[in-house]
């Protein structure tokens, strides 16, 4: 029998080699794709912005009964609101927020409340743009008492009274 001239018996080798090639090409395909990036890095950036936004709202929401701070408390901006976004005191809130939040961050502030007829109203108070995809939100609830509420609240929103009411102050921040 002359082995080297016999063309039979090659099929098993080809099968083995083709199977190995399939294995290796699957491995190559997986390596080429970009889906193995660890997502933690992006999440930590979002987490840091959320902490800053939440801290900013906490620092602004202090009680004037037993403390004093050079920044006016959040409740004062809500109780004295005149219904517009051009009120002079809102410019002070804007500059306070700009000093507390990090650089390269834009923000919007909304007041959210249920008016006298039970409708939910979301009114933008400070608008600096449309929030991006990676925006974070932090909210605080402020109590509106009858003796502190401005004329806007008493005459335009809660004409029938029903105090105290709750107003939600919502801060939306995003990186630019």
């Amino acid at each position: 029998m002359r082995l080297h001239e016999d063309p039979r018996g090659q099929i098993y080798t080809i099968e083995g080699i083709v199977a190995s090639l399939i294995l290796l090409s699957v491995l190559l395909f997986i390596l080429q794709s970009n889906s193995i990036i660890v997502p933690q890095t992006e999440r930590s950036i979002d987490m840091k912005l959320y902490e800053r936004a939440s801290d900013t709202m906490i620092c602004l929401d202090w009680s004037s009964n037993d403390s004093w701070s050079p920044m006016a408390p959040l409740s004062e901006y809500v109780t004295e609101w005149d219904g517009t976004s051009t009120q002079a005191s809102l410019a002070v809130l804007d500059s306070d927020l700009a000093s507390l939040l990090p650089k390269h961050v834009q923000y919007n502030v909304n007041f959210i409340y249920y008016d006298g007829s039970g409708d939910k109203k979301t009114t933008p108070v400070i608008v600096k743009g449309i929030p991006g995809d990676n925006s974070v939100v932090s909210t605080r609830l402020v109590t509106l008492n009858e003796d502190e509420a401005s004329d806007y609240w008493k005459n335009n929103v809660y004409t029938t009274g029903g105090f105290p009411h709750i107003v939600e102050v919502k801060l939306t921040c995003w990186y630019v």
Binding site: T13, E15, L27, I36, S44, C59, D66, S67, P70
Partner: protein, 329 residues
């Protein structure tokens, strides 16, 4: 005569079958050994450090800390004389109910521990950073209004690697309680003298007493005098050693100051002046009718007067923490 193949031909395997299976197995073993290496993150240590930074910043900004000795325990670790031995957790918050409000007294306590630079190790260990992996930190608290750094930065080590994770928190720095004298609150008996009553004082006073006067009608403040009975107020105190003034936050070099109606004066009485002898009343000498109600015999309790209450004075600031580890390059 042809070759005779020995015995039975059953049970033979082709050589090329062996070869093909061998190639397949080799490839398979190679791939199986390679897969675990795929999941090693491209940035070693990045995940670990940001969670450590978050946790440590939460302890510093939201937790008042804890000390515990054989006899007492509590959160006022900065007041303990042997703080190195009894502190178990170093937190800077005023109390648990007010997160993000940190106390100037605790920052001073931290500086006191750091004053001896080898006690950086104490600070690091009591922030939970010395476990199986040892971390190093650097903490800074800066006021937003004047940019002043409140922590002694010379005590922290410098990072030895490029991989440093930082975390910033907004805080309110509670610089202590002051008596808020808003002269607008009561103008029924305007006059030039304001008497503060400290009969509820502890026998030894350890901190400054601060009286913040604002909304006066303007005038001159010239003197602060003590009394042990509320009737006689001898001029026993000297400016600088016993009491000082800050006008709108700026230290005044003289005891006679002229203010107008929108100035804010903080009169700080130093503890030494109050402990030399048992002072129970203090008289602030103004001019004209700058104070609101100075009817005869009226004095206002420093600790709990309903009209002129004590309030904490809080300034916004940023707490910045940097964490790195020499174990992770």
């Amino acid at each position: 005569m042809g070759l005779m193949v020995l015995g039975d031909e059953g049970g033979q395997s082709n050589i090329d079958f062996l070869f093909g299976v061998g190639v397949l197995l080799l490839t398979f073993i190679y791939v199986a050994a390679f897969i675990p290496g795929l999941f090693v993150p491209y940035q070693p240590g990045a995940i670990d450090l940001s969670s450590v930074a978050y946790r440590t910043s939460a302890i510093l900004a939201e937790d008042p800390g804890w000390f515990s000795s054989s006899t007492i325990n509590g959160t006022s670790w900065e007041e303990q004389p042997n703080v190195y031995e009894v502190v178990s957790r170093i937190g800077l918050a005023d109390d648990k109910d007010h997160p993000n409000v940190i106390s100037q007294a605790k920052i001073n306590g931290l500086n006191g521990i750091l004053a001896n630079h080898s006690n950086y190790i104490v600070v690091r260990d009591h922030l939970g950073l010395s476990g199986t992996i040892q971390y190093n930190i650097s903490v800074s608290v800066k006021r937003l209004d004047n940019g002043m750094e409140l922590v002694d930065m010379s005590a922290w080590p410098t990072p030895s690697t490029y991989h440093v994770e930082s975390m910033e928190r907004n805080v309110l720095i509670d610089t202590g309680k002051e008596m808020f004298v808003d002269c607008d609150k009561d103008r029924s008996h305007p006059g030039d003298m304001f008497t503060v009553n400290i009969t509820d004082r502890p026998s030894v006073i350890t901190k400054n007493l601060t009286i913040r006067i604002f909304n006066t009608t303007g005038g001159t403040i010239s003197d602060v005098r003590p009394s042990q009975d509320g009737l006689n107020f001898p001029s026993l105190w000297s400016y600088g050693a016993d009491y000082v003034y800050y006008v709108n936050g700026v230290y005044s070099t003289t005891n006679i100051i002229t203010i107008n109606s929108n100035d804010v004066v903080e009169i700080v009485i130093l503890p030494g002046a109050l402990n030399t002898y048992p002072v129970t009343y203090m008289l602030i000498q103004g001019s004209g009718s700058m104070f609101g109600n100075t009817s005869i015999g009226s004095s206002y309790n420093y600790y709990h007067d309903p009209k002129y209450p004590q309030k904490s004075v809080c300034y916004p600031g940023i707490l910045r923490l940097e964490v790195w580890s020499d174990a992770i390059a």
